[in-house]
């Protein structure tokens, strides 16, 4: 009965979303307070109903209710509890339900925290949010019903895709969706602003926390996905420019641009139509990613259930959301007047440069992802665009972005001098150049570009810290005064410094891992020892072990350094019994400066086992850096939350209402 309850709750949620998506709009147009108030009630009701539906599906998974087709296809009674729960979103129907859940939760959050928004703006935002919800709920109910029953019920399920039975991937989709769906709120704000015909500093101040929150979650989601690919696929790499990865990178780039351009709207009352466009694009690119991944238009190494009928629905939905938004934009945006005058050398000038470069990056990724499709349809040629394309396009565009990133914070608003800013950075520049030269000589003389890229990483870190030290007048004022300044520093600029510095660490990790890693592949029999990068690695034994729903070969390797025992590593190769599928479980020993990475390959007692060893310098920094990037966002967000209530109390904004 519980699945039926969930199903009914979902149908009711669709009905409520229809009401929420229409009546408040009418109310906002006519100035009818009661219709506008309906938006808040409906948003809370809708959230409650979708929570109910999600709870019902979770219950079916946890109790292994094999009369539900979705549970049969994706779960198994022998699965550990955590993967029974993550199985809820580890499939197409469930992940769409998770998407709808987060969407309605964000809607409810706008209803709860948006008490200080002007009534018309709030009801329009809620209505747009609900219209997006209508699309997702209809998609679920008509094409991907997760509550479909199966009769007769089989005795056991088919189990979750073994690759997904991993703690990293259990939380990757929810984080990613928090990011994608978070952009739906900024999209709703952009549409509401176009309907209102007004974009002002107050609007930017409301949009920024939502953008920040979505951006932080997306950052964490992407980092977790990349980390997962690193340790589960066993290829030693962390980013493969696969369409699925690109699909999440594009909204991230657009969102990063939005994050920065919203500041210009807030502080300088300029760049309005551009910011609105970015808000529309960030969410559109999120939807585009979903479409590409699930429709079967592009192939990917990552497997997803693909169905052209669903593809048509998502395409129609994508067109309605993006097309509707952009049509409204083409119609209303020319009326958005900016008051600010522009000087190229100024904080806002630097932020525009940042936006141009970030958008170029997003366009590059979009082109690289879609080019095979275009070419195939136009000429029938099949090509695959791989890392060479992205290394030749994406990476060089990053160089000016990183170069300018440290200079921007030194420039003042309105008008600034470039030379004093550069002079303040001369120490950072010197350090970076020295590091790059040392790296190119000491590590690998042939990898000059890698050394330059490494220098850029150092530049980001030192440049950001120099800026922060200057802000605190560290060294130039008494320590007590600097500490006082530290306490008075707004959280937003603290967050900026953290995020920019962390980006530098990501760059260092990525460059070092890609360019300077060491690898060794050797077929080893138990008892054999190989020397690798100063370590002596001995294969002690390979044994069979039994897990909850798999059997595995587990190798035990003793690693010694200078003859002294250093660590023991146990990579596995798991064979999942239900799906007859093998998954490599790498063993990684990290000391935060480098990863010692071992995978176990094919083999048997007579021939020996294929053992692959990697030494990845600075690899942990990639994910730690990304996590700190997100942390910087959260720090900045904590500042906003305190100040978000301010504008509605200010006379200037009250007059504007």
């Amino acid at each position: 009965m519980v699945p039926e309850l969930g199903h009914f709750a979902l149908i009711l949620a669709l009905a409520v979303a229809l009401v929420q998506g229409t009546l408040p709009l009418v109310g906002a147009a006519r100035g009818d307070d009661r219709l506008m108030a309906l938006g808040r009630t409906a948003a809370l009701t809708q959230a409650f109903l979708v929570i109910l539906a999600f709870g019902a599906l979770t219950q079916a998974y946890v109790t292994s209710d094999f009369s539900v087709a979705n549970v049969v296809a994706n779960s198994h009674s022998a699965k550990p509890l955590i993967y029974k729960i993550s199985g809820v979103w580890g499939n197409h129907e469930g992940s769409m339900l998770l998407w709808a859940l987060i969407l309605s939760l964000f809607g409810a959050a706008v209803a709860i925290f948006g008490a200080n928004l002007p009534d018309t703006l709030r009801s329009r935002v809620l209505a747009v949010q609900a219209l997006i919800g209508v699309g997702f709920l209809a998609f679920l109910l008509f094409t991907s019903n997760p509550f479909e029953r199966l009769s007769p019920a089989p005795t056991d399920g088919n189990g979750l895709n073994p690759l997904l039975q991993d703690p990293g991937l259990a939380f990757h989709p929810p984080l990613l969706y928090l990011g994608y769906v978070g952009f739906s709120v900024t999209y709703a704000f952009a549409i509401a602003a176009l309907l209102e015909g007004r974009v002002d500093a107050a609007w930017a101040r409301w949009v920024r926390p939502w953008t920040l929150a979505a951006w932080c979650f997306l950052t964490l989601g992407i980092a977790l996905g990349s980390w997962w690919a690193y340790y589960i696929l066993g290829w030693g790499g962390f980013w493969f420019w696969d369409p699925v990865e690109n699909a999440s990178l594009m909204p991230w780039l657009a969102g990063t641009a939005l994050l920065h351009s919203a500041i210009v709207v807030e502080k300088r009352d300029a760049l309005k139509s551009w910011t609105v466009l970015l808000a529309i694009l960030a969410f559109s690119l999120s939807l585009l990613g979903t479409f590409l991944v699930r429709s079967g238009v592009l192939t990917s190494v990552h497997a997803f259930a693909q169905d052209p009928a669903r593809g048509m629905f998502i395409l129609a939905f994508l067109l309605a959301v993006t097309g509707g938004g952009l049509a409204l934009y083409a119609w209303r945006a020319p009326k958005l007047e900016s008051s600010g005058l522009f000087q190229p050398i100024s904080r806002e000038g630097a932020l525009i440069l940042n936006n141009l470069l970030l958008c170029t990056l997003a366009a590059t990724v979009l082109l690289g992802t879609l080019y095979p499709l275009f070419l195939d349809l136009l000429t029938g040629n099949k090509v695959s665009v791989g890392p060479p394309f992205f290394n030749a396009t994406f990476v060089p565009i990053c160089a000016p972005l990183f170069a300018a990133l440290c200079v921007g914070p030194f420039l003042g608003w309105k008008r600034a001098e470039l030379w004093p800013a550069l002079m303040q950075l001369r120490a950072a520049f010197a350090v970076s150049v020295i590091v790059a030269i040392v790296a190119s000589y000491a590590i690998d003389g042939r990898a000059t570009l890698a050394a330059v890229a490494f220098g850029f990483g150092v530049w980001l870190i030192v440049g950001s810290l120099v800026e922060f030290a200057g802000r605190l007048r560290l060294g130039r004022a008494p320590l007590a005064a600097s500490l006082r300044r530290l306490r008075a520093t707004p959280r937003a600029s603290l967050g900026m410094t953290i995020a920019h510095t962390a980006l530098g660490f990501v760059v260092l990790g990525a460059v070092a891992t890609s360019a300077w890693h060491l690898e060794l592949m050797r077929t080893m029999k138990p008892g054999e020892t190989v020397a690798f990068a100063g370590y002596q690695v001995t294969l002690q034994k390979v044994e069979e072990v039994k897990g909850a729903n798999y059997i595995a070969e587990r190798a035990t390797l003793a690693v010694a350094y200078d003859g002294r025992p250093y660590t023991t590593m146990q990579p596995e190769r798991r064979l999942f019994l239900v799906q007859r599928r093998q998954v490599a479980e790498t063993a990684i020993h990290t000391n935060l400066l480098r990863d010692f990475y071992v995978t176990l390959g094919e083999g048997d007692r007579n021939a020996g086992w294929v053992i692959r060893l990697y030494l990845n310098p600075l690899a942990p920094w990639i994910w730690l850096g990304a996590a700190f990037c997100a942390l910087g966002g959260f720090v900045s967000l904590s500042d906003r939350r305190l100040r978000i209530g301010a504008p509605s109390r200010r006379p200037a904004v009250q007059a504007a209402e």
């Binding site: 694009l281 479409f291 238009v297 190494v301 052209p308 395409l315 195939d376 090509v383 294929v610």
Partner: protein, 179 residues
């Protein structure tokens, strides 16, 4: 007016993209499986320099040895090739299959380094730097794998990486049956 057009630009771009997407969906195109005209026909001509220094060149004779042969097109820059590589290692080392590897549009030193790193399951390895042989073979990208019987007739054609399932259900029965 031109300012208006500027604001219309995003919408126009979207319309163009959407046209392509709809075309792709309606054409019923499956990017993973496109079928092959080669199955049942003699394998195309093969005349390539060897990838490994000192090996004899790769010619048609290798395909007509009377034994079934697998021909695998790969490249060091291709991630799916990495995914299927362990299966070829198993085929070559454990099942004793004869596999001809052809590095497609790949620099010699990069392909060699790739094989050195991952292991080299190929009995013979050729280099198709300009991709002409790939054209003759109807290649749509890498990786692709052809199963050729002892008489030089193509029996199976896999586009994209081979999977455990392909191995167990198609390739191994073929190798056993063709003997």
């Amino acid at each position: 007016m031109s300012r208006r057009l500027l604001f219309l630009l995003p919408l126009l771009t979207l319309a163009l993209m959407a046209g392509f997407f709809a075309w792709s969906l309606l054409a019923g195109r499956d990017p993973a499986a496109i079928g092959s005209v080669l199955v049942g026909r003699p394998a195309p001509h093969l005349d390539l320099p060897a990838l490994r220094a000192g090996d004899p060149p790769i010619t048609d004779a290798l395909l007509k040895s009377g034994k079934p042969v697998l021909v695998n097109f790969f490249a060091s820059w291709c991630a799916p090739c990495l995914a299927e590589h362990p299966l070829f290692t198993r085929l070559g080392e454990r099942e004793g299959a004869t596999i001809i590897g052809i590095a497609w549009k790949n620099k010699r030193d990069e392909a060699e380094a790739w094989l050195k790193r991952l292991g080299d399951p190929f009995k013979s390895a050729g280099l198709d730097l300009d991709g002409k042989t790939g054209l003759d073979w109807g290649l749509s990208g890498v990786p692709e794998t052809y199963a050729i019987d002892g008489n030089g007739i193509v029996r199976m054609h896999f586009r994209g990486p081979i999977t455990e399932r392909d191995l167990n259900e198609s390739i191994l029965p073929f190798l056993k049956g063709a003997k």
